[in-house]
């Protein structure tokens, strides 16, 4: 006689298992970088030591869609590249998420021309948009945290009233106070 006899065991066990799986998934998001332009440089900065995406378990950049969970579209996608992007998305194994990084991937940005797709979300599903040109690494990390939130909710992006995607609401209040620098910067006086 233990506590498990008093609980509806199968249901509790299933939800608990799901939570363990979600915890494992959210802590080891392996991104595939689809870095076609300047945003890719910022993506590299995010993964490197100063911003250290490894703190969120997302440092293992996989260059095979079969081994990755998160497609990071960083940069403008040209009309000739879009079928490639779609093929890569189709090759990713479930579960998979897509993060559209920067103005160009999300909307085409300033490149309103015949050669640039005006937002990859027209042709592949996108879970999280990170605005900016390019987004700062902090913003990209916030985007990865938003993906983690989605995974926590069993991979379903929160749906609000009317069936529209609800805001994730993870943004923290911005502080405009300058952050303390590790080493003093500035010009010597006089």
């Amino acid at each position: 006689m233990g506590i498990e006899t008093a609980l509806p065991t199968d249901i509790v066990l299933t939800t608990q298992l799901q939570r363990v799986i979600n915890w494992a998934r959210r802590s080891s998001i392996w991104p595939i970088p689809f870095a076609t332009a300047c945003c890719g440089i910022e993506l590299m900065a995010t993964a490197s030591s100063r911003y250290d995406l490894a703190r969120f378990g997302a440092e293992v950049m996989r260059f095979s869609p079969r081994q990755s969970d998160l497609l990071i579209v960083a940069g403008r996608v040209s009309v000739k590249m879009m079928p490639v992007l779609q093929r890569i998305y189709q090759q990713m194994t479930e579960p998979r998420w897509v993060l559209s990084m920067g103005a160009c991937a999300s909307t085409g940005g300033v490149f309103d021309t015949y050669a640039v797709v005006q937002g990859v979300d027209q042709f592949i599903p996108v879970d999280v948009y990170v605005p900016g040109c390019p987004p700062r690494p902090e913003q990209l990390i916030e985007g990865v945290m938003a993906i983690q939130r989605i995974i926590d909710e069993d991979g379903i992006p929160p749906i609000g009233p009317g069936g529209k995607r609800a805001p994730l609401g993870i943004a923290i209040d911005p502080s405009h106070a300058p952050a303390p620098q590790p080493v003093g910067v500035g010009l010597p006086k006089g």
Partner: protein
């Protein structure tokens, strides 16, 4: 400030081709020789081989569309060749003008927009001429492999022509939509 066309190659070309029609311009130290499209190949061969020219490097081939250009130009399309001579330490531009004979909105082959390829003189012209063909629809006679280089084979236009809409004619919207269940 007026510049004088005093590039040494001008005089050399003039004395070697006394009966051909040329024009010479100079802008901020860049000297350009304008040749008739039919004379292009012969002149280019001369510029490569002549002892005092020795243009051994073709650094680029460029197309220009002068539609609605404010000044009067000798033709609608220009093709510019940028030549370098490592041996004589010279830089020289050769330009030629073409006028289309069929409407330029489409991709029909235009017999007036054809010039001789210089790939047999400088092998490096192959890709640059393909780019000019891709973007402007100017064909190069004698090119070994004249296909589009940046856009795909059946692209329905030559997008750097000025009468091509900058946002395209829907090429950027014609994909199937992949959804979450696609694998």
């Amino acid at each position: 400030m007026t510049t004088t066309p005093d590039h040494p190659t001008f005089a050399r070309v003039k004395e070697s081709f006394p009966d051909k029609k040329f024009r010479a311009t100079e802008f901020r130290g860049d000297s350009t020789l304008v040749v008739e499209p039919g004379d292009l190949h012969e002149v280019m061969q001369f510029l490569k081989d002549d002892e005092s020219c020795k243009y051994d490097f073709l650094s680029d081939v460029i197309g220009v569309d002068y539609l609605n250009y404010p000044a009067k130009m000798p033709g609608r399309f220009g093709v510019v060749y940028i030549l370098c001579s490592y041996e004589r330490d010279l830089r020289f531009y050769v330009k030629t003008f073409l006028d289309p004979s069929v409407p330029t909105e489409g991709i029909e082959e235009d017999p007036a927009l054809v010039i001789d390829s210089v790939t047999d003189i400088w092998a490096g012209a192959e890709w640059t001429e393909r780019e000019v063909f891709d973007m402007f629809g100017i064909r190069f006679k004698g090119h070994p492999d004249l296909r589009r280089i940046l856009l795909w084979e059946d692209y329905p236009g030559h997008p750097l022509r000025k009468d091509y809409p900058v946002k395209g004619r829907g090429e950027r919207e014609m994909y199937k939509v992949v959804d979450r269940t696609d694998a």
